[in-house]
């Protein structure tokens, strides 16, 4: 199958290893990976701030890039939700409504694609560490991702998953929210970090780099040795 990989701006600029891991995993599974290089961003920042015209301007350039894709895979619950859930709303009653709907139907978050589209849960990965999983809110509540990442982690050799009590609590990132209301965002992040620390895990794993950027930012600043890592990177460890 030809898989069109959507690389979110975060992964491109800050966490390329997550993207590289996805390419390598998909290719190892025998799929052809294409990356539309003209895509920069899904348009979520203006969308979530209420500037839908500006969001539409960005998203309108994304749509034709994905028009012929059979399967669009995104390594982020958040950008995944933007394409899958919010594009149809954003383009409602516009000439691109049909295309937005088509793209929505063909879009998969990475772990969901592996588990529910390809039916793969064992990638032969090896990651001998104690980890805890952070459910990114968009992935959890917009895309219903809960079992998929755990099914994949269950088959990683040496990996021990310890659930934290606040696994489903928001990390406090929330895009521009983190800069508009930094005190609330930080307080929320502290709750999450404390819960993750309680598990005595070495890593917080998630399928959303933006949440991990927020958590890693807090952990590093506070001198907490707990590290963050994208699910795809864990699944690509040999």
């Amino acid at each position: 199958m030809t898989v069109t990989l959507f690389i979110p701006c975060f992964i491109d600029a800050l966490f390329p290893r997550a993207g590289i891991s996805m390419v390598q995993i998909l290719e190892r599974l025998g799929h052809r990976v294409v990356v539309p290089e003209a895509i920069t961003c899904c348009g979520q920042p203006p969308f979530n701030s209420g500037y839908w015209d500006e969001a539409r301007a960005v998203a309108a350039k994304v749509l034709p890039q994905l028009a012929n894709a059979d399967a669009i895979v995104i390594g982020s619950g958040s950008c995944g939700a933007m394409l899958k859930v919010f594009y149809p709303q954003l383009f409602e009653k516009t000439p691109q409504a049909g295309l937005a709907k088509q793209i929505s139907e063909r879009t998969w978050e990475f772990s969901d694609f592996l588990v529910n589209k390809l039916g793969v849960t064992d990638l032969g990965a090896n990651f001998p560490h104690k980890v805890t999983f952070h459910d990114g809110c968009h992935g959890l509540r917009e895309l219903n991702l809960k079992k998929q990442p755990r099914a994949l982690l269950a088959n990683v050799k040496g990996l021990q998953l310890v659930e934290m009590s606040e696994a489903e609590t928001c990390c406090g990132f929330g895009g521009t929210f983190s800069a508009k209301f930094p005190m609330i965002s930080t307080a929320m992040g502290d709750v999450k970090c404390a819960s993750a620390t309680e598990t005595s895990a070495e890593y917080i794993v998630s399928n959303d780099s933006s949440c991990l950027m927020h958590l890693q930012g807090l952990l590093s600043r506070q001198g907490n040795p707990l590290k963050t890592i994208h699910l795809a990177e864990v699944l690509n460890q040999k």
Partner: protein, 463 residues
Amino acid sequence: MTFVSQFLKQARVMTSDLRHRRIIRTALGNYEIVRDKRKAAFQNWQSARQLAAETKWEAVNHLDQYLEELVAKLEARGTKVHWASNSAQAREIILQIVTEKKARSVIKSKTMTSEEIHLNDALEHAGLNVVESDLGEFIVQLRHETPYHIVFPSMHLTRDEISELFQRELGSAATNDPEELTMIARDALRKKYITADIGITGANFAIAETGMISITENEGNARLTAALPKTVISLLGIEKILPKLDDLALFLPMLATMGAGQALTAYNTMYGGPRQPGETDGPEEWHVVLLDNHRTELLADAEQRDALQCIRCGACLNVCPIFRNVGGHAYGTTYSGPIGSVITPHLRGLHDWKHLSNASSLCGACTETCPVKIDLHHHLLQNRRNAAQEKPSASEQTTYKLFAFAANRPKLWNFGRKVARLFQPLQKPVKGTALDPAKAWTQTRDLPPLAKESFKDWWKKRK
């Protein structure tokens, strides 16, 4: 001070109050345990939610018919019904009744709607003695505070703080025993019921089919408020309608479950109006004040109409990470938490209250928990869109126009990334200070370094 700067100030104060955050977290942690236990007692919680949502949706969509039915039934048994378009009218109606009765004292059971119209201030201003009879409300009234939470008005206070308050205000002895504290309040309150000329209640539900006001409570105070005074006034928003009496079979346990983790609230009463001929007790006069106060505007909003389904259980507040970290008072509104952030712009103006819709990570925990399936977090997103359409912020709009301009030019975007990477080391010495352009982030968090080789660099090279 504008509402937004007030909110920001309060949010700063409250998020740095670790003691307060711990109190709320503990209280709501206990709530979650009992709530989940009660939810599990439903045969199928998700279908119960679906049925509740459909029932309220039906009520809201045929509000005109159900209100007429309710009023006809209420009037048939002698209740006087008043319609109030806004807060001022509602206050006026109530003041007029109070004046006609030459009343001097008023006893109230818990009603958030009276908070919404600032009734206590108006009554006190008119020279009346007003006493809140719900224990939590009584406590915050003694502190001259508004309720902290729509269901738990004094959840932010410890028993010691309440004891100190009672010692100061009621001259009682020091104790932190909950039962003793309750008895102190009860002693003070019992006298008030007997002397009160007027009782004022709210309503949890108004049953159209039978013309009844349903009130659910744990202390028996609402029963006394509605039974002892000669005149009773019930103030309720027009959205409190339930079509049928049978609907209570679902809504009473659901409200108790989500409100306080109870199977049923201790006292559930249906009030049918004043004393009927041949009856020996009950109030001589009963008034029902039906309040609109912008609810019909929300009704006209096809996108957000479902917000009128709210049964004020407070469940969305309890799971909201914003509420849990800033607390109820920071909002500066009658209704706080997610539902407050959704409806306050409709009740009090989008421009003044849009910041509450921005003060959300859109995590959706509220929508997930809401027993009547209000699409809360998506409504926050819609409020943001409506605010940007109505009155865009010049700086934000320019930022996003530039953002869109750059995002649509991959070469420019990539160039921008490379420039930002060159400049990133310069940010280090000023990290988190006023000179740091990213200080909103870096005051409490480190920024990750931009990768030397971006994903797309790697991809190109590889090809």
